[in-house]
């Protein structure tokens, strides 16, 4: 098995996410033992944000890190476990609501590929960038 970041790199559809993780200085932490649950937005999810949104965040690593940490839980949780609870505390601090189990929806994003098990956690691929609030 590979780590979360290696798995994402091999998938090929997380280029923006990986660049953002590197810009925010989170690569080392996410390559650590964890375990983590990562809700990983695909490239199209970042591209759907209005112009300038990603650039402003990339220019400001602490602010970018905050948004990225909202996509991560401490602990490895598969879909079956996540749907048993309405809210999960993100590493950012704000809760991530689980809105539907079928189809599996995390906040206002739909999970398009769940339960990708990695060395240091679980990845759920989502179709939108989720934001605290």
């Amino acid at each position: 098995m590979a780590s979360i970041l290696n798995t994402a790199a091999e998938a090929g559809c997380f280029k923006t996410l990986l660049a953002a993780v590197a810009a925010a200085g989170l690569s080392e932490a996410l390559d650590g033992p964890g375990p983590f649950t990562v809700f990983a937005p695909v490239d199209d999810a970042f591209a759907a944000l209005p112009a300038g949104t990603v650039q402003t965040l990339v220019d400001n690593p602490p602010q970018l890190a905050r948004i990225l940490k909202y996509h991560v839980l401490a602990g490895a949780y598969p879909q079956a476990q996540l749907v048993s609870q309405s809210d999960w505390p993100s590493l950012e601090g704000a809760p991530i609501p689980i809105r539907r189990s079928e189809p599996f929806e995390v906040k206002n994003a739909t999970v398009i590929n769940a339960d990708i098990v990695c060395d240091n956690g679980v990845v759920h691929v989502i179709d939108r960038v989720i934001l605290p609030g």
């Binding site: 209005p50 112009a51 300038g52 650039q55 402003t56 602010q63 905050r66 948004i67 206002n108």
Partner: protein, 421 residues
């Protein structure tokens, strides 16, 4: 399709669901709101510069008589979001203070004379309005974001302590006072952090409004929803802008709130600002007075409803009242087409402040619409989502937002009519 809403403001909700604004899409509404955005942007270009000047340079000056006498450095400060050197260029104009602002500061309404005379004659930009907005944010506090919580943290107290001791270095009297009344000094620093917060917020809004005015003049914005969408995109574009508080003593910089705390323009400035200033503020003493003992002022701060979205522009229209101070500031920078509109309605010059106050109210309903649509976009679903449950979630969100305008003071019904002037 989901069934029609049965809310009192169902028409407005259906308009929002179709991608529109709370303000009806008419050519006159568009002309009015763009004209007033421009008139607002010029004094705002002063507000943000002076707010940062006070937060970063005047700081704890015990006699800040000259805090509105902004230094040349701050008048020439490059806006982070306009001009050729900005990382994310929103306003195509120059980087220094707007030329109309510079011209007004020289002449005012009277003649060119020394700055001190303009100040004493009150022939100047009314910074008191900006400070009233800052105080509304400072006082209401619990409006989301983490800024306020941080002001109580150990890290903040340590940074503020360092800044206070550095600022009063060599001043035994002030250091003694600090030792005797530490909380008084810390509370002043907290307020100064809100000066910085609001300054950084408005630094973004000024070029956004200038750009909208320029685009409208060129024919680039042709409807109220287009104006709203421009604002929605602007909100997203700068959402991640850091909110911080740095203090400079000579060349030394003390970071009271470092950028590394991760505070953002959207969560720690824009959303609290909209809540504190558009919705809540405080009961201004105009020609109308409030009796708190008779429960005319809510006991719960969250129920305060004295912002521009609820204001009866006429009774608060008295000298020295913060909304009137802003109206007076905007009066100096009205585009010609808005001047002509006011001359053709009401009592012309005689009630121009009231007319432009109501125009401002219309324009802020449009800004609030942009905030509502941006939140819907960020937290909920696209308006064209094929999933009915998602559309119903959007509907519940819009209805909850409109619930805030059910109280009789709300002006949402009024702005639906063009003859509300």
């Amino acid at each position: 399709m989901i069934p029609p809403s049965t809310h009192k403001y169902a028409d407005v909700i259906h308009r929002l669901e179709a991608g529109g604004s709370m303000l009806p899409d008419t050519p006159e509404n568009l002309e009015q709101i763009i004209g007033i955005y421009k008139a607002y942007a010029v004094p705002m270009d002063f507000y943000w510069r002076d707010l940062l000047y006070i937060a970063e340079r005047v700081f704890l000056n015990p006699l800040p008589a000259f805090k509105y006498f902004i230094s040349k450095q701050y008048m020439d400060l490059a806006n982070s979001y306009s001009g050729d050197n900005s990382k994310l260029r929103i306003w195509r104009g120059g980087e220094k203070a707007h030329p109309e602002l510079v011209a007004f500061m020289k002449r005012g309404e009277t003649i060119s004379m020394p700055k001190i005379l303009h100040h004493l004659w009150h022939d100047r930009i009314n910074m008191e309005f900006a400070e009233a907005c800052m105080q509304a944010m400072f006082w209401h506090q619990d409006m989301g974001g983490r800024f306020n919580d941080y002001l109580e943290s150990k890290a903040y107290l340590a940074n503020a302590d360092r800044a206070i001791k550095a600022y009063f270095k060599g001043n035994p009297l002030m250091l003694l006072l600090y030792k005797l009344f530490p909380e008084m000094f810390i509370e002043q620093v907290r307020q100064l952090s809100y000066y910085s917060n609001l300054g950084l917020f408005w630094e973004v809004m000024a070029p956004v409004f200038f750009e909208m005015s320029d685009l409208y003049d060129e024919g680039g914005i042709n409807s109220v929803p287009e104006a709203m969408d421009f604002l929605v995109n602007g909100i997203f574009a700068v959402a991640g802008r850091p909110i911080y508080h740095h203090v400079y003593m000579g060349n030394e910089c003390i970071e009271i709130i470092p950028k590394s705390e991760g505070f953002t323009w959207l969560y720690e400035a824009a959303l609290p600002y909209v809540e504190a200033v558009f919705y809540r503020t405080s009961p201004f003493r105009g020609t109308k007075s409030y009796n708190a003992q008779a429960n005319q002022v809510p006991a719960d701060q969250a129920d305060f409803h004295y912002g521009i979205l609820y204001a009866d522009v006429y009774p608060v229209g008295s000298a020295g009242i913060p909304p009137t101070l802003l109206m007076q500031d905007m009066l100096h920078f009205l585009p010609a087409y808005l001047e002509a509109t006011y001359q053709n309605h009401g009592r012309g010059d005689e009630d121009k402040l009231i007319q432009l106050g109501i125009t401002f109210q219309r324009s802020m309903y449009n800004v609030t619409s942009a905030v509502i649509q941006a939140l819907r976009c960020a937290l909920l679903y696209p308006l064209t989502d094929p999933d009915l449950e998602h559309l119903l979630a959007n509907r519940r969100f819009f209805e909850a937002q409109m619930d805030r305008f059910l109280r009789p003071e709300a002006r949402l019904s009024d702005i639906q009519q063009q003859n509300y002037r």
